[in-house]
Symmetry: C2
Subunit: 63 residues, 2 copies
C-alpha cells in the first residue's frame, strides 16, 4: 500500500499527526487529510515536504 504517515515538527522532533494518509487537499491555510481507515483531520498549517518513496509527509504549523 502506498499511503504515507504525516508528521508535525515540534521542538525539532517529528511527531506523528496522522498515519496511513491517502488524501491530502490544501484549503487556504489548512490541509484536509483522510487516511485509509476513513479518519479525517484538518491541519492548520502547510506541507513542508513529502517523500512518497519514504511514505513521509512533513507538516508545518501555522506561525
Amino acid at each position: 500500500m502506498c499511503e504515507a504517515n504525516a508528521y508535525v515538527i515540534k521542538n525539532g522532533q517529528e511527531e506523528i499527526y496522522l498515519e496511513s494518509v491517502d488524501i491530502l487537499r490544501p484549503e487556504g491555510n489548512q490541509i484536509y487529510l483522510r487516511n485509509i481507515f476513513g479518519e479525517q483531520k484538518v491541519f492548520k498549517g502547510k506541507i513542508k515536504e513529502m517523500s512518497l518513496l519514504n511514505h513521509k509527509i512533513i507538516l508545518e504549523e501555522e506561525k
Copy 2:
C-alpha cells in the same frame, strides 16, 4: 514503488506534468518536484489534491 504522477488541469483535462514523483516541496508560490529518475521541475502554482493510493497528484496553475 509508491511514487505518484503529477497532473495539471488544462481546459478541464488532466495533462501529465511529471511522472513518478518522489519528492514534493512547496516553496512560496511554487512547488519543487523531483521524480525517481532524478528529474526536477518547479511548478508555478499549488497542490490542488493528492491521492496516494491512486498515485495521483493534481496541480493547479497560479491564476
